[in-house]
Structure formats: C-alpha cells, structure tokens
Amino acid sequence: MDLSLRGFPLVRVFTTMQNFFQILVSGISVGMIYGVIAFGYQLTFATSKTLNFGQGEALTLGALVGLTVVNFLIGMKLGTFAAYLLALPLVFAFGLAQGSVVEWLGVRQAMKTKSEAGWIMATIALGIIFKNLAENIWGKDPLKFPSPLSENPLTIMGVNIRPMEIAIVLGALAMMLAVELFNRRSIYGKAVVATSNDRDAAGLMGINTSLVITFSYALSSLSAALAGVLVAPITLTGASMGAALGLKAFAVAIIGGLSSGMGVVVGGLILGITESLTGFYIDTGYKDVPGLILLLLVLSLKPAGLFGKAAIKKV
C-alpha cells in the first residue's frame, strides 16, 4: 500500500482487507435474514396485492416457539443440534397456522369489501396483539437461544465466520429455492402463479383462489418463522426482536421490488452490508441510516411508488 496516503480517511477504511471482509460476512448473514422476511412480503403481495405488516411479529413468535420446543427437547436429554432439527417442522407448522390466522382475521374481510386501508390496519393490529401475547408468555426480557452449531468461529483466510452465519445463508437460499421449485414444477405451485397473474381467470381454471391467498399468507409467516429461528441463535430472542427486522425487511422488499424473486436477496444484501459497514466505519449509532436513505431514494426514483405498475407487471 502506498505509504504516502497514510492519514487519508480512505486508507483508514481499508486498513486491513480482513476487517472489511469480516464486516462483509456479518452484513451478508443479516442481509439474508432481511431477504427471507422480504421474500415473505413478496409471497402475499403476489397473490393478493396485500402485505402482512405483522411480519416482524411472525418472526418473533416463530423464534420463541422454536426456543420453547428446543429447550423442551434439550430437557429430554437431546443434543442441541438434534433438538433444533426436530423443532424446525414444528416451527414451520406454527408459522403456517399463524399466517392463516392473519389472513382469515385481518385480510379476507378487507379484501371482500375492497377496503384499501382495512388490511393495513388489521395486520398492524394483529402484529401488536401477537407481540403482547409474546410478552405475556415469554416475558419482556431477552432470552438466550441455544445455538445448534458451535459458537466458535471458523477462521477462513483470517476472517472469522460463525457456523450459524453459514447456516443462515444456506437456510435462506433453501427456503427460496424450495418455493421456486414448487411454483415451477407442481400443478399447485402453478395455480399460485396463475392466481398472481389473474385471479378471476385462475378461478375459471377451478382454482380456489381464496385458499391460494390463505396459503400464501401461511407460507409468508413460515418464511418469517424460519428467519426467526435462523437469527435467534446469534442474537437475543424476545418479544421485541421482530419489530425492527420486519421494518427493515419491508424496506428491502421495496428496494428489491415486490415482484422479482431475486430482488429481495440483492436488496437484503445491499442493506445488510451497508449497515454493518456504517456500523463499523462510522458509528453503530448511524447503522440504520443508510438503509432508510436507500429506501427514500428508491421511493423517490420510482414515482409509481410502492405498489406501482412497474413493480407489479415485470415478467
């Protein structure tokens, strides 16, 4: 490195490439979490043009249900890893059920009466109820989620990577890939795509489109619950863990586009990485700023706005 540049701020930024890669790693794992939650927003937006604004609370509940099941299984003398694996199907089932409830109580009625604001208010309200529920069952204090994988980082070329961070990336990708395969290969998945394309025409094919919308809400909450149990072991678990994540993932969904599958991964990574870069090189206090600036930029550069045609009609 050119020594004459010492003291120039940019040089400080890249003092060590290792530092930079270290930041990148944590940015990527957080970004993938945002991506999975945002993917959940996409799922319901595709079929119903509505979103679950309680997505963050779906994540919270998924993580807390997972925590209880994992602790119970550990109490049954199971290893942490085995307990975690066994808990996953239960967490998924819980997510599916929770999402269905949100759709029944919050969305179906509002869509019937064609109320624009109805589903927004209803899903926010349900989110608050779920959060209160979580506080009453699990308390307000953050809890420790037993890590299924070793908490000792692997050192790869001087960069420390926690095994759980790798699991997050793989888990997130597996989830999206599974949904993509389902949509492409199975007739039921095609029915979901058809409903997204043209609900009335899908009904004419004999597809129960109300059920498809319920299903997309169920799957959306499942994604959030998965994000919850993926992120819980590397952070603190508690009733308020989902709020900020849900909001940031919403920004990611807007940035990445509510309709393009890969957009949320890219958007999530952009946000996750800028956040951890800001947190490290500037100040953790400003960590949330770049994401919000990014969000504002995207919103102003896409005058059609959040639900604009450009976001919907892209093939």
Binding site: I187, Y188, K190, A191, V193, A194, S196, N197, D198, D200, A201, A202, G203, L204, M205, G206, I207, N208, T209, S210, V315
Partner: protein, 240 residues
Amino acid sequence: MLKVQNLVAGYGKVKVLHAVSIHVPKGQLVTLIGSNGAGKTTTLRAISGMIKPESGEILLNGTNIAGMPSHEITRLGMAHSPEGRRVFPTLPVTDNLLLGAFPRLTGARPKGDVDTDLNRMFELFPRLKERKDQLAGTLSGGEQQMLAMARALMLQPEVLLLDEPSMGLAPRLVEEVFATIARLKTAKITMLLVEQFAAAALDVADFGYVLENGRLAGSGPAEKLKNDPAVRAAYLGASH
C-alpha cells in the same frame, strides 16, 4: 344440460341483465348475439360464477349453480374462455394448458389422459405447439386467443362458454377459429358461443338468442334467425 332461467345480474347497483332465460341442450351449439353492451359477456360471467347473479336459476345438469364460486362451477364441468383471453402471461404455453386441466390433475374431476389431450390441443392448434415453452404473455393476440380456447378445452368440459373467440383476429384467423368451432361441434361438445360476427355464428350454430339491453329480444333455430328480416337488419347487415 345448461338451463338459465330469469337471470338477473349486474355490477354493484347497476343491473345489466333483466330476467334472461337461455337453454343449451346437450351436444348443441347455441349462440347469443346482440350489439355492444347488450350484456352478452355479463351473461357468460354470471353463468360461470365470475359475478354473482342477483336472482334467477342456472341449472347445470339439474344442479343450481347460481351464486357458486367460479372454481366450484368449473369443477362441475363448465369451461369458460373469457372475453379478452385472460391467459397467464408469466407462465409458458404448456403450463397454461395444464392449468386448464387443474381439476383433473387434482382429483376434482376424472383424470383421463391429460398428456394425450395436451397433444390433441397441439394438433388442433399447431402454432401453440411451436411455442409451447414460450411465455403466454409474449404470444400474439391471435395465438393467445387460441391458447384461451385450448386451455378451456383441457377441462374436457361438459359445457363450453366461448366469449368472442375471434376478437382482434385477422380475417384468415377468424375463419380458422370458426373452423375449429365447427370441428368441436362435430365432436358433440356442448357450447354457448358469443360472437361479434353474428352471421358466421348463426351459420355454425343450432340455435340462437338475441339479447338487447339485457333482455331477450328473440330466439329460434339458427337457420330461422338468419332469415328473420329484423335480425338481418339489426345484426347481420353490418358484420359482413
């Protein structure tokens, strides 16, 4: 087979149909003619459950289907190729066709041989075969029209509703569509056809109804309607 009695339907507070009655006997081709805005599309929509009728009966093989959601009506064997094609733009041609057979593939109707039917559609519409992996949204208007028809046929329907299958097509393709309809008729498929080309529709149909401002203004064997001076003056003059 399909019997519509005193059907009243519309959109919200706007009533479009006032007591319309139509009978489509098994194996016959019945056509519904009328000027723009007469309520032809609305009639088909009410029959297939895309809109809820206000009152009246719609009997499909004796079952009253009035007010049922469209997916249940489809599962009873009614296919509807809607106005404006409504193909699924982000799905390939083949997937569009398979979705036409959705009730068969999911156990809601007898399965039969879906693959053979798929190939039959490709024989009937060779242009779809050449484009079977292409996204439906990238097809030309005429190709989309063929796809909409083929997709409806994939149900192996007991009754087929066709809403302006020739809309927006070049004259040569219009002829082709009518040739296809004639072929379906030979195959004894029960059809209710709405067409802008009233003369051509009456040529191929067994029976016809004339709709005017949401009310039936006449009906009769197609042959007879075609020679009816009033019908000729109102509907057949301009279309040829």
